[in-house]
């Protein structure tokens, strides 16, 4: 691949509360590279450093050691342009609907652009585009009360608030948390659309390995502050030893294929969907059934 990565992290270390009795090393030499337009998921147990890593992408946390280059900005250099990093990488926290504060949807989405001191017409335009891109009609939603929406709508408003900054990278911490299955599927489709239509690079933290496998280009598995495995979902499912060693569970379907293989069935294990599994099982058993 000859394109330069839009996110390039080398040997990143970070410790919380250094020098106090409550010191905690969160990142131990993380290496991560993301190409523009990729959809990337960071998976790992709670405490593996995923959220800490995300917060380095837009300069909320500064690297204590190592290199962090985001959209051409070197955050490890003294005097780094953190504000530019904030604009280049839009960070959406877990349960982002908890951060809404304006009485109307339009005003809340406008918070970001207004902080950039853009002229009013530009602010309005950005709000319109942002709301439309999360599937909420500008006219229908701009004057709605922020707190009178459904949970799923509120989350989309929060994401729109970040999109209104027009970032190149959208980083999300556990965007599917707390949503029911329908809501999760719908939000994943939205993320895929944002990449397909607007060319956004998407980086998100998730626990739901099974649901994201269809959407994600590359999975990075984190454990104890380090990236222990990287690859496409199929690659990871084909050789999941490291993942399993970390105590992470494979989704049901790939896990089944692993078990079948262990039981002597010559099936591929890099299967993502139920349909693929059915095809693969049929392929290997039809000779028996003939």
């Amino acid at each position: 691949m000859s394109t330069k990565p839009i996110i390039d992290i080398k040997d990143l270390w970070y410790t919380y509360l250094r020098g106090t009795p409550l010191e905690h090393v969160a990142l131990r030499g993380v290496n991560l590279s993301v190409q523009p337009g990729e959809i990337v998921a960071l998976v790992g147990h709670t405490g593996s450093g995923k959220s800490t890593l995300l917060q380095h992408l837009n300069g909320l946390l500064m690297p204590q050691s190592g290199q962090v280059r985001v959209a051409g900005i070197d955050l490890h250099e003294p005097g780094a342009d953190v504000e530019a990093a904030r604009r280049a990488v839009g960070l959406v926290f877990q349960y982002p609907e908890d951060q809404l504060f304006e009485p109307t949807v339009g005003d809340d989405v406008a918070f970001g652009p207004r902080n950039l001191r853009l002229p009013r017409s530009e602010v309005r335009e950005r709000v319109r585009v942002a709301l439309e891109s999360v599937g909420l009609g500008f006219d229908a939603f701009r004057d709605r009360s922020t707190f009178g929406l459904s949970g799923g709508e509120m989350r989309r408003v929060a994401i729109a608030g970040v999109l209104a900054m027009q970032p190149q990278v959208l980083a999300l911490d556990d965007p599917l948390a707390g949503l029911d299955p329908g809501g999760r599927a719908s939000l994943l489709r939205l993320l895929a659309e944002l990449r397909d239509r607007q060319g956004l690079t998407i980086v998100f933290v998730s626990h739901a390995l099974d649901e994201i496998a269809g959407v994600v280009d590359t999975l990075h598995v984190l454990a104890e502050g380090r990236v222990v495995a990287s690859g496409s979902p199929r690659e990871i499912f084909r050789s999941p030893e490291i993942v399993l060693e970390m105590g992470l569970r494979l989704p049901e379907v790939p896990a089944l294929m692993q078990r079948l293989r262990a039981a002597g069935f010559p099936v591929r294990t890099d299967v993502l969907t139920v349909e693929e599994a059915a095809e693969e099982i049929w392929r290997t058993t039809k000779s028996c059934v003939m």
Binding site: Q55, V82, E83, D98, Q99, F101, N115
Partner: protein
């Protein structure tokens, strides 16, 4: 650049377990002693007295096995404000009838330029103010760092219970305090998360001299509104959960643990009260 990890340095509500004498004293003694100390800190107007208090507090902090830097950590976010406050106190100090001590001779004034002046009494006042703030921080930190939240809330409930017989809603107040204490670290984490989220949208929580008071308050809205909304929602959920566990108010409730005060606890509290009283009453030279 604003430091979002600031709240992790807040030491109120944080408990550092230990085996020191200070740790094992009855929490009620500690609360009473802290109140006495705070009374002394606020009223004693003499340097000598304040230095005695400072020495005493530093000694206690050391006795409790707490790094001094950590106990003062809570002052870190306010450091700028404190220095500014002290500077303003010095520069705008005015002698007026009733100010204590009252210097009437001009030799106390070191420098003057228009409304600003630098005077010995002004410096003294500013110095005292800083001392008092540091001591307050130490006193309160000492209490919260050596006493678990449980012990604190039990102690408050116990101290307030005699008032319950007089019709004062002692149990309700104690429970409200317990719940508040329990949520301090949680709310601190949430505030940090909200601040980071708003900062990610370009919000600026730094300090600018040119902002008016109104502007500064307005900048807190994106921080406080979400916190309030979450807290109210959580309060509603808590009520339901408490009712599901048969909570119907203080009447008929029993208590899981009883505090037992020993002679040592009484003696320790007594000593501090006596010493504080002495410092308040005795006039020092400086």
């Amino acid at each position: 650049m604003a430091d979002y990890e600031v709240l992790r340095h807040v030491t109120i509500g944080q408990y550092l377990p230990g085996e020191s004498l200070v740790h094992t004293l009855d929490p009620r003694s500690k609360i009473v002693a802290t109140i006495a100390l705070i009374a002394a800190i606020t009223t004693v107007g003499y340097f000598t007295g304040q230095l005695v208090l400072l020495a005493f507090l530093v000694l206690l902090v050391g006795l409790a096995g707490i790094p001094l830097r950590y106990a003062l950590g809570g002052l870190r976010p306010a450091l700028g404000m404190i220095i500014l406050l002290a500077a303003m106190q010095v520069l705008f100090y005015r002698t007026y009838a009733g100010a204590s001590p009252a210097p009437s001779d001009a030799s106390a004034v070191l420098w003057q330029a228009g409304p600003l002046n630098l005077s010995l009494p002004g410096l003294r006042l500013a110095g005292l103010t800083i001392l008092k703030l540091v001591e307050m921080m130490l006193a309160v930190s000492l209490l919260t760092l050596t006493t678990s939240l449980t012990s604190l809330s039990r102690a408050i409930e116990s101290l307030l219970s005699p008032l319950g017989r007089l019709g004062f809603p002692a149990h309700e107040v104690a429970l409200a305090m317990t719940i508040a204490l329990r949520f301090v670290p949680t709310l601190a984490e949430e505030l940090e998360k909200i601040a980071k989220a708003q900062a990610s949208r370009g919000a600026d929580f730094g300090y600018r001299r040119r902002w008016s008071f109104v502007q500064r308050v307005r900048r807190l809205v994106p921080l406080l509104v979400p916190l309030f909304v979450t807290s109210f929602r959580r309060a509603e959920e808590m009520v339901v959960a408490m009712e599901a566990r048969c909570y119907t108010g203080g009447h008929g409730r029993s208590s899981y643990r009883r505090l037992r005060a020993t002679a040592l606890d009484l003696a320790a509290a007594g000593f501090v009260i006596f010493a504080a009283g002495l410092l308040i009453v005795v006039p020092f030279p400086i």
